[in-house]
Amino acid sequence: MILVSWILIVLMIGLAVLSIELKNLIAAVVAMGAVSLIISLLFLLLQAPDVAMAEASIGAALTMAIYIIGVRETERSEK
């Protein structure tokens, strides 16, 4: 279980760096949503299912959708 959480943490940090560095903003938003999803898995591993559900539904679904709507209304890629 410790190994799984370490893999998830490394993956999460990588995706977080990717979401800052990516020039395609839709891809950056998807990376950010994946960070939220991994955070919710980590909450589940830390035995906090209440917080994990809130993070998965708000962080990974609603926030990502709102960001995608925002990106669609403005520039598609970062200059």
């Binding site: 209440d50 559900m53 809130a54 679904a61 609603l62 959708a65």
Partner: protein, 237 residues
């Protein structure tokens, strides 16, 4: 160049301070006695099987009322902002229809998402989850509906009525506690019932159902504002 060096120095100071702070405490150590108190007395005092719910709605019920108010203010702010931005909005081109599989699939799965969200907030005092989680799951179901059928609109008047009634239920249940012998706001005046059954823990399930409806209607309203800013306004002008 000099700016980057200053940034690096500040980042290093913050990292060192955080490491020094956290090194003083062992990870996961019990720093406050109140957690142990909740674990030992929570079930007997509130009757809720989910200890998180008993903390969120019973011991810290007033904080939850504040949290719901903050969410209401945020949703109202989004609505006002988009109402003001909508004036003089440029016309949008027609959006392409999503394909057949997405449309039919979302129509099949939408009632099950609603059912799942409702299950989560009705069983908030028994299993993990509660009003906030269930409400946001229902709102993500509405988001799916908006994505697969562009141009659909939720009845905003109905959403406002549901939201207002749910908020009123919470406040009235809280004020009711003032008229019981304990004279305390949000006092759990109903009988606790049999432990770990659906109808138990007094007013906690009623409050969580109210919060579930309130959060669902608020998030659905935010999604409606944002999607309509993109899709609906094209047809108006």
């Amino acid at each position: 160049m000099i700016r980057k060096i200053v940034y690096a120095i500040f980042a290093a100071i913050i990292v060192i301070a955080l490491v020094m702070f956290f090194a003083a405490y062992p990870f996961g150590a019990n720093k406050m006695a109140v957690g142990t108190y909740y674990l030992n007395h929570g079930v007997a005092q509130t009757g809720a099987a989910n200890i998180v719910t008993s903390v969120v709605l019973d011991y810290r019920g007033f904080d939850t009322l504040g949290e719901v108010s903050v969410l209401f203010a945020a949703a109202a702010g989004v609505a006002i902002l988009f109402f003001m931005l909508g004036i003089g909005k440029k016309e949008r081109e027609n959006l392409t229809k999503p394909n057949f599989v997405v449309r039919v699939g979302s129509r099949i799965i939408f009632p099950f998402i609603l059912l799942f969200g409702t299950y989560i907030f009705v069983h908030g005092h028994l299993t993990p989850g509660g009003g906030f989680q269930g409400g946001s799951i229902i709102a993500s179901g509405f988001l799916l509906l908006y994505l697969s059928y562009p141009g659909t609109r939720v009845n905003r008047g109905g959403l406002s009525i549901i939201e207002g009634l749910a908020g009123l239920t919470f406040v009235v249940l809280g004020l009711w506690g003032l008229f019981t012998p304990t004279d305390s706001f949000l006092y759990n005046f109903l009988p606790k019932g049999l432990f770990n059954t659906l109808v138990s823990a007094g007013i906690l399930p009623i409050i969580y159902i109210a919060i579930g409806f309130k959060v669902a209607s608020e998030f659905a309203g935010i999604v409606d504002d944002m999607m309509c800013e993109v899709i609906c306004r094209g047809g108006e002008k």
